[in-house]
Amino acid sequence: MQSNANRKLNMQKLLAPAALVILYVFFSIFGKNFFGYEGFKQILQSSYYIGFMAFGVTFVIITGGIDLSIGTVMMCSAIIGGTAFTNWGWPVPLALVLVLISGLFFGLCNGLMIAKAKLPPFIATLGTMMVSQGFGSIISNVRTMHYSPTYVGDWFRPVFYISGNFPVGAIWLLGAFAIAAFVLNKTRLGRYNFAIGSNEEAARLSGVKTDRWKIAIYAICGLFAGFAGIFFGAAYTTITPGKGNGEELNAIAAVVIGGTSMSGGSGSMVGTLIGVLIMSTLKKGLSSVGLQAHWQTFFTGFVVIGAVLLDNARNRAANKVKIAAPAVKK
């Protein structure tokens, strides 16, 4: 009975990858210039910064929290770094380190507000979202920052974005994925991450210093947003303060499509990676059949809702297992 039900559950876990394959095949058949290396490369390229944000926020969402600030923190960090090498004369590599530190700092602030001051994550990160957006404009004097070769040197793009015709960013993305998945599945932080998400009070009463771990998790999320800032710069080359707003929702959507539950306690990095790729495939695919950006948003909305409906169905199925198969015989 139980093994049967388990198999059914596993089938449902396969739905996200299956959806990705189906989408890819569908657009390969019906899309113009979709199938092939060029199209594949473009899908990867539009996954970079969303991917970094999504990996980071996956940790947070598994705790049962949310981080609305990642989009603007990404932008703000990139602006701070840009200001450093444009206005302050910092060497670019050092400025990139500053980008990461900025992201980490905002994440740390989120963590402190949520774990120590007990602010609801929604409120704390909403505040940080506005603060970081404003700060980006303030520090740059509302000037656009350039991550083009004249400003960051010829080496920047080949290292972070594309070298020849090879999408280098994909290596970074997969590397980040591997690290995030390792941390989530194999380290103490990852284990506590799930424990906090499924029952924070029980974890605390077991002696887990939940506050500290939560701060660490939000800081990691901020650090990932910082990384996303670098790749955002690499992808767009010009960054206007105020950009980035709304990107957090794309990242969160990718996480949700990947099957991570918004109520916390369950989720996976693989799911998030697939969620990101589904979003990118949809983006490239819809434009390959001649539908513009607003159509992408339109359809992505349906995908998000569909994914959550599926998630609910999966939970209901799991609950049925619970009742149908008592583990104990008297």
């Binding site: 506590y192 499924s198 887990v208 306690g265 008592p326 583990a327």
Partner: protein, 497 residues
């Protein structure tokens, strides 16, 4: 007594891992007070929840006036004239008596409330029940007993109410208030209402009930006419021979056993200057009524709540317990009365929960050593007999008794020497109960020390070496097991008025 109103026959109800109701019967006549008794977890409330549509039965039938009826939700029950008065009253304290009675079906004048009519209707209802309360009184200003009458009046204001279920109606009342309640119940009887009366107080049953149905461990034991039985016979039916052996005769702790835990003048909002000591190898029972401050005391000792004053000494040395992490470090493990909320991460596996307090011992560098975790979990699964298909099974799918054992395993892996069991057998079926008892005895034999909080006196008398009684946040007594009796404990636990 009139004709048969209600019959429940062959009721079956399953919960995960628990057969909650096994072929249960109940019958109610009009104008009858039918008491439903049994120990905690006997299935009384489950039975009543089936009747009021909160739970769906898995098999069996319910007949009203001899005709089978389907009760799918609480609204169905109400439409059939079945009302329940819960132990915790469901009144809106800031509204008036009349507003509470007619909430959701207020008399209207077009789109406006007709307050005057509402008050008139309430006044009429209250006087017909000889309740001397003004309809415009704010409910929160009434005593609990009078609030209860308002609640009953509300139930009876539904014209068709013929079956009234009262869940421990006397629990919060004083002697004289109980007298008032009984007068009122006799009135209702005369009006032909059938009353299901759930209570733990034996003396009361003799006075108010016509018949008594006894349940035990989810099974129907029997129905008797109150006039024809003694209370001893009822108690015997309730407890059976299964769980409660003889109370412990004398303490198993040698007089020179060292003190492992000492609490001095613990103070918080709900705990008033409580001091006690715990010896090595001792089971120290904490008795008291709900809200006596026992759990709150345990939460102070285990660092779950911040204390306002007092000291805690472990093995003679003062330890500064501010957080649960501090308590765990000092070797104090707390098994909460509400294990689902405070003890377990239900969606995680048995293994993950087993090492929740000790994950730092299972690291290779910074990597979690899952192989070792599974090995250790497996060892404890064997050792304390956790019945689970595997250690990878999610805890949510285990029965209550086995969930309790997983919490215990968590503290045993941590090697806690002081274990606080808060209502360790609540919601656990008989077999698992005696297994938990055996485990506790084994643990103290191995040199651990246990604080046991329980609301079941026989359980305390059977397990404890010494008993502390609390009432309203104050320690009211302490006795060696050799001199402890139910009567003595109850006298100390009952609030003085």
């Amino acid at each position: 007594m009139g004709e048969v109103l209600l019959q429940m026959r062959g009721i079956q109800k399953y919960f995960p891992g628990v057969h909650a109701l096994d072929d249960c019967h109940f019958e109610l006549k009009s104008g009858e007070v039918h008491a439903l008794v049994g120990e905690n977890g006997a299935g009384k409330s489950t039975m009543m929840k089936v009747l009021t549509g909160v739970y769906q039965m898995d098999a069996g039938e319910i007949l009203l006036d001899g005709k089978p009826v389907q009760i799918h939700d609480t609204r169905d029950a109400q439409a059939l004239g079945i009302s329940i008065i819960h132990q915790e009253l469901n009144l809106m304290k800031d509204l008036t008596v009349a507003e509470n009675i007619f909430i959701g079906r207020e008399p209207m004048n077009g789109i406006l409330l007709n307050k005057r009519k509402q008050n008139e209707m309430a006044a009429e209802l209250l006087s017909s029940l000889s309740i001397d309360i003004s309809p415009t009184t704010i409910v929160g200003t009434l005593t609990v007993a009078r609030q209860q009458m308002v609640e009953i009046a509300k139930a009876l204001s539904y014209d068709n109410t013929r079956i009234l279920i009262m869940d421990e109606p006397s629990a919060a009342l004083t002697e004289s208030e109980i007298e008032e309640l009984f007068r009122f119940i006799r009135d209702l009887k005369a009006r032909g209402v059938g009353i299901v009366y759930i209570s733990h107080r034996m003396g009361e049953l003799k006075e108010i009930s016509d018949r008594i149905t006894v349940m035990r461990d989810g099974q129907y034991i029997g129905t008797v006419n109150t006039a024809e039985v003694t209370m001893d016979e009822i108690i015997r039916m309730m407890v059976g021979r299964v769980i409660y052996e003889q109370p412990k005769e004398k303490s198993n702790v040698p007089p020179d056993a060292p003190i492992v835990l000492e609490a001095r003048h613990l103070l918080s909002k709900d705990v008033k200057d409580v001091s006690f000591v715990l010896h090595k190898g001792e089971i120290l029972g904490f008795a008291g009524l709900m809200g006596a401050g026992r759990t709150e005391t345990a939460r102070l000792v285990s660092g779950a709540d911040k204390r306002l004053g007092g000291e805690i000494l472990v093995n003679g040395k003062e330890v500064n317990i501010q957080t649960p992490a501090d308590a765990v470090k000092a070797g104090i493990g707390y098994l909460s009365e509400d294990r689902k909320r405070y003890g377990l991460c239900l969606p995680l596996s048995v293994a993950d929960n087993t090492v929740m307090a000790t994950l730092h011992h299972f690291l290779k560098g910074s990597v979690v050593n899952d192989k070792k975790i599974r090995e250790v979990s497996h060892t404890y699964r064997e050792q304390i007999n956790i019945k689970t298909p595997s250690v990878d099974t999610k805890v949510v799918s285990l029965s209550g008794g086995n969930q309790q054992k997983v919490v215990l395993a968590k503290w045993l892996v941590r090697d806690c020497d002081i274990l606080i069991f808060d209502e360790p057998t609540r919601g656990i079926d008989v077999g698992a109960k005696s297994e938990i008892y055996k485990l506790m005895n084994r643990l103290v034999a191995e040199g651990k020390s246990i604080i046991m909080i329980s609301s079941e006196l026989p359980e305390l008398l059977r397990m404890s070496d010494r008993i502390i009684v609390m009432c309203e946040g104050v320690k009211t007594g302490e006795m060696d097991i050799s001199e402890a009796t139910q009567e003595k404990i109850m006298a100390l636990a009952a609030p003085r008025i």
